[in-house]
């Protein structure tokens, strides 16, 4: 972290087959970037797999090993949280589909390793939302005080309820009814997702999305999320899933192309795949590459914007173009999520709120 030390050390690592030689200040910068990107444990597992961890100098290695301990602890906490959900939702009929991190842990999928968790996500049919919300409130989860506008925003326009937080365990929970916002141009009908969901061995009450849907959700999440503080992490999750399912099932990639088209998520998947090609080198196998080409091709500006947005949120990676790109990406993701009038109203409202907070007429939340 000495003078003049800057630049993104984190992103090139996933493509390289081995670590470049790093000075101690560079190690400090890499650890710091990985920490802010929530990729410290992931970096540790990657170095472990490549056999490079023992050769890392002691000072940075200790933080990597500490992150492995944290990740292990969080996996245990996620398992416990899922068990508490089993109890809280015992009276709910119909499928409960774990999403993202919770699903990776429950189904023992590769991204679970070395992943740090913010919350647990699951999906139930929309008709079940009131019952689920009631059971969760009875089970000790509450909504953080949201202003009425934000509360309405979630309930009317989003694919999820306002976030829940458990009163004792302080764990966060997101309850969805589909995988993309219903107002977005990539709205996905939930019924086929539930129909294809697969039960989790050992957790009779829970299911996870079918492989193709899980991949598509992962890709859509990266591409539609406006803030992207964990964009790189989410892309690496996607990479793990693609490699895992691709290696186990020769029919996976053709099925993915078909499903992406059927759910109209192909532009988002293509954009994510393009980015992955740069970041990890993962590409569709040659035999199916053709089924991905005719799909809508991502525009070059979207790709270069995304490359900047995906840089670690760290001052050493910031330049005016990155800051500008983050702004534009924020607007773009909202544009993809909402209808124009609704978007104008929402952004105007957010800007006004920020202004009022700034001048002290409204409390920071």
């Amino acid at each position: 972290m000495s003078s003049g030390l800057s630049g993104d050390l984190l992103t090139p690592l996933w493509r390289a087959s081995a670590l470049p030689p790093l000075t101690l200040p560079q190690w400090a910068l890499l650890i710091s970037q990985a920490r802010q990107a929530r990729l410290l444990a992931r970096l540790a597992t990657t170095l472990q797999d490549r056999g490079e961890l023992p050769a890392v100098p002691e000072a940075p290695r200790r933080y990597l090993e500490g992150a492995l301990a944290t990740a292990e602890r969080q996996r245990n906490q996620v398992r416990w949280e899922i068990d508490r959900l089993r109890v809280a939702l015992a009276d709910i009929d119909g499928p409960i589909v774990l999403l993202k991190g919770g699903a990776y842990v429950a189904a023992a999928l590769p991204p679970a390793r070395g992943r740090l968790f913010g919350d647990i996500d699951f999906m139930v049919p929309q008709a079940q939302l009131p019952a689920v919300e009631g059971s969760l409130l009875a089970g000790g989860w509450t909504h953080q005080s949201l202003d009425p506008y934000d509360d309405r925003y979630y309930r009317r326009w989003m694919h999820e309820l306002p976030p829940f937080k458990h009163v004792w365990r302080h764990t966060w929970l997101d309850v969805h009814h589909t995988i993309t916002p219903p107002t977005s141009r990539h709205a996905v009908e939930a019924a086929p997702l539930f129909a294809a969901a697969v039960p989790v061995p050992g957790l009779p009450r829970f299911a996870v999305l079918a492989p193709c849907d899980m991949v598509l959700h992962s890709a859509a999440h990266v591409m539609l999320d406006g803030e992207l503080p964990h964009g790189l992490r989410d892309l690496l999750d996607l990479d793990d899933l693609l490699r895992h399912f691709g290696a186990r099932d020769p029919g996976f990639w053709p099925a993915l192309a078909e499903r992406a088209a059927a759910l109209k998520l192909d532009p988002l998947l293509m954009l994510a795949l393009r980015q992955l090609e740069h970041i990890t080198g993962t590409v569709a196998p040659p035999s199916v590459a053709s089924s991905f080409v005719p799909l809508a091709r991502p525009r070059p500006w979207a790709r270069s914007l995304l490359a900047r947005v995906l840089r670690p949120m760290h001052p050493s990676c910031d330049d005016p173009s990155t800051r500008c790109a983050r702004r534009l990406w924020y607007i773009r993701s909202h544009y993809l999520r909402m209808r124009p009038l609704q978007l104008a109203g929402h952004l105007g409202r957010k800007a006004a709120t920020r202004l009022l907070t700034r001048v002290g007429l409204r409390r920071e939340t």
Partner: protein
């Protein structure tokens, strides 16, 4: 200049540029405190003032060293600075605490430096407690705020006990000795005057009034203790202190099981470390004599601790 003219007076002494000030406003002042190195950057006068008063004896970390934590305390910009100037703490670029008045800048820096350790170090077991050492044996003083832990610690380090830490016991998972993180001792409210009266040579940062903890001042760690920051000390006692007005000094034995549970409760990361953390805690407690300690007068407390140090191991 002709020889007939009287010699011109020497130019007014220009203070040599203060290296801390220059570094703090520039690329950062790198300082090492035991096992952790920080890069500090700030444009808040209270921060510079505190560092000048209390950190003059600390070893610098070199430009080629590993920096554990990158910390910034900055005056917030915008027009608000004219009304109510605030200091913001940034860690690796992201803001982690609510902003505080600029006058609290140094206290904020100290809290932030502790937070860096307690939130990011998982390669050592960390216990919220003071640690002092005498005769090669350390005493761990875990306690909730308000128990008089820091006051007792500040008094002990001026009476022959070496300061390892006022806030965090750093227990390596493999090695035996506790690692010193020698830093200033945080004192609150009347404790500041009590210690100033108890030890007139003690030096303090400028007090920050009206913080969430009341008035806060930091006491300088004795330079001889700073010089020994790389010298670990094995723990021999775990003493839970409690200050109670009018109490006679008393040192009562305490159960090991109870001590283990209370230490775990005071630990920042025993849960994260899982079995390794539990085993280390158990080994720590096994190797220590455990006590509850109550006092009201510092002199009595010191005498009691000195008797403890005199006991055979």
């Amino acid at each position: 200049m002709s020889a007939s003219q009287p010699a011109s007076p020497p130019p007014p002494a220009v203070a040599p540029p203060d290296p801390i000030a220059v570094a703090l406003r520039g690329d950062g002042w790198r300082v090492r405190t035991g096992p952790f190195a920080y890069r500090l950057r700030s444009n808040v006068p209270a921060v510079l003032d505190g560092l000048r008063r209390l950190y003059g004896n600390y070893p610098a970390a070199g430009a080629d060293d590993f920096i554990d934590f990158d910390v910034e305390v900055r005056r917030s910009g915008g027009w608000r600075r004219f009304l109510r100037a605030q200091a913001r703490f940034r860690f690796e670029g992201s803001q982690s605490f609510e902003p505080l008045p600029v006058a609290h800048g140094f206290a904020m820096l100290e809290w932030a430096m502790n937070w860096c350790i307690s939130s990011h170090v998982n390669h050592h077991l960390l216990i919220h407690s003071a640690v002092v050492e005498r005769g090669g044996r350390a005493v761990i003083l875990p306690a909730p705020p308000g128990s008089g832990k820091s006051t007792l610690c500040a008094a002990l380090v001026h009476r022959g006990w070496r300061l390892l830490s006022d806030e965090i016991a750093v227990v390596p998972l493999q090695a035996e000795g506790l690692l010193p993180v020698v830093r200033p001792v945080s004192l609150k409210n009347q404790s500041i005057d009590i210690i100033a009266a108890f030890e007139p040579t003690a030096r303090f940062s400028r007090p920050a009034h009206g913080t969430s903890k009341g008035t806060v001042a930091h006491m300088m760690a004795p330079p001889a203790h700073v010089a020994r920051m790389d010298e670990p000390a094995p723990a021999a006692w775990i003493v839970f202190p409690r200050w109670r007005p009018g109490a006679e000094v008393s040192l009562r034995p305490r159960g090991r099981a109870e001590t283990l549970v209370d230490l775990a409760r005071n630990s920042f990361n025993a849960g994260t470390l899982g079995l390794a953390g539990f085993d280390r805690l158990a080994r720590l407690v096994d190797g220590c004599a455990c006590h509850d300690f109550e006092y009201s007068r510092l002199d009595d407390a010191i005498a009691c601790f000195d008797r403890l140090a005199g006991e055979a191991p």
